[in-house]
C-alpha cells in the first residue's frame, strides 16, 4: 500500500474553483482524460451529490501488460459532494478497470483557505494498492509517482479552466456592453424616426385640418343664395 498526499492553494475564491472543477475537462494539460459522464446526480439536504464515470488513457508501461492485461481505455467512478453552506467540495475517485489487481482511491477536497477567505485550499490524497501480481511494490511506486505527476497537471488544468471562464465572462460582459450600446443607438434611431414620423403626421394632420377648416369656412362663407336652390 502506498499513500500519497498533497496540498495546493489557489488564489481564487472557493466558488470560482469549484465551478471550474466541474469544467476541468477537457483541457490541453491533461488530454489523457477522454470523457466524463454523469451517471447519477441529486440534491440531498442542500448538498449536491454526483456520480460520474471518467474514461481516460492511463498509458501503462508495456511491461505491465502480461501482468495485469491490456486496456486502451480505463474507467473510474467519481463520487462527489458539494456543500455550499459549509463551502466544501469532496471528490472520491476509484478505478474500475484493473480493479482486481490495482485499486487507486483518490480523495480531493476543496475548502476555503482557513486564513484567507479569498483563497482556496486543495488537499489531495491517494491510496494505491496493488495485489495478486508480482512486483507489487514496484508497481505501487510507479503508480504513486504517476499520480503525483498527474496531480500537478490537474492543478494547472484548474487554473487553465478558471482563466478560460474569466475570458468567457469578459467576452460576455463585452458583448453585453456592446448589445447595450447597440440597443441605445437603435432605440435612439427609432425614437428619432418615430419623432420625425410623428412630426410629419402632425404636419399632415395640421395641414389637413387647416384645409378642411378652410373648406368649412369657405362653405360657410358662401352666400346662402349660391348654395340654396331657389324655390
Amino acid at each position: 500500500m502506498k499513500v500519497w498526499m498533497s496540498e495546493h492553494i489557489f488564489n481564487h475564491p472557493w466558488e470560482t474553483v469549484v465551478a471550474a472543477a466541474w469544467q476541468k475537462y477537457p483541457n490541453p494539460i491533461t488530454p489523457s482524460v477522454l470523457g466524463t459522464d454523469v451517471i447519477d446526480r441529486k440534491v440531498v439536504d442542500g448538498k449536491l451529490k454526483s456520480l460520474r464515470l471518467v474514461s481516460s488513457q492511463w498509458g501503462f508501461p508495456r511491461w505491465t501488460k502480461p501482468l495485469i492485461g491490456d486496456a486502451n481505455i480505463c474507467y473510474a467512478s467519481e463520487t462527489s459532494e458539494v456543500d455550499p453552506a459549509h463551502r466544501q467540495m469532496v471528490l472520491k475517485t476509484r478505478n474500475l478497470t484493473f480493479y482486481n489487481y490495482i485499486t487507486v482511491d483518490e480523495t480531493v477536497r476543496y475548502t476555503p483557505h482557513p486564513k484567507d477567505d479569498k483563497k482556496t485550499l486543495l488537499t489531495q490524497e491517494a491510496v494505491v494498492k496493488v495485489h495478486g501480481v508480482p512486483l507489487t511494490h514496484y508497481m505501487e511506486d510507479l503508480l504513486a509517482s504517476k499520480i503525483s505527476f498527474n496531480a500537478s497537471k490537474g492543478r494547472q488544468a484548474i487554473e487553465w479552466v478558471i482563466s478560460k471562464i474569466d475570458r468567457e465572462v469578459q467576452d460576455l460582459a463585452n458583448s453585453a456592453a456592446k448589445t447595450a450600446d447597440e440597443l441605445i443607438t437603435t432605440t435612439r434611431h427609432q425614437i428619432d424616426d418615430i419623432t420625425s414620423k410623428t412630426m410629419h403626421t402632425m404636419d399632415e394632420i395640421q395641414s389637413a385640418a387647416k384645409k378642411s377648416f378652410e373648406e368649412v369656412h369657405d362653405l360657410s362663407s358662401l352666400p346662402p343664395t349660391a348654395s340654396m336652390p331657389k324655390l
Binding site: 446526480r41 449536491l48 476509484r94
Partner: protein, 83 residues
C-alpha cells in the same frame, strides 16, 4: 494546440445531449446552487434524455459500477430525508 471545446461522452452518440446538459448544469451550479437555490428542476429535461442515452451506452460497453459506489448515493438518500 488542437483542443476540444467540450468534454466527450463515453459514447459519441451521447455527446450532443451531454454538452447541452453540461452547459445547463454549469449555469445552474454557479447562478443558482452556489447562491443557495437547491431546486434542480432547471436542467431536469436535459438530464433525463442524456441519462437515457448514457445508460444504454454503459450497457453496450459492459461497464458496471461497483455496488459500493452505486449505494453511495442511495444510502445517503435513505439516511437523509429530502428537505
Amino acid at each position: 494546440m488542437d483542443h476540444r471545446e467540450h468534454m466527450n461522452s463515453l459514447n459519441d452518440t451521447c455527446n450532443e445531449l451531454k454538452n447541452q446538459y453540461d452547459k445547463c448544469f454549469n449555469t445552474w451550479f454557479s447562478t443558482k446552487f452556489l447562491k443557495g437555490d437547491t431546486n434542480d428542476s432547471m436542467c431536469a429535461s436535459f438530464y433525463s434524455v442524456y441519462q437515457q442515452c448514457i445508460k444504454k451506452a454503459m450497457k453496450e460497453h459492459n461497464i458496471e459500477l461497483h455496488d459500493a459506489q452505486i449505494n453511495h448515493l442511495e444510502t445517503d438518500k435513505e439516511k437523509m430525508p429530502q428537505s
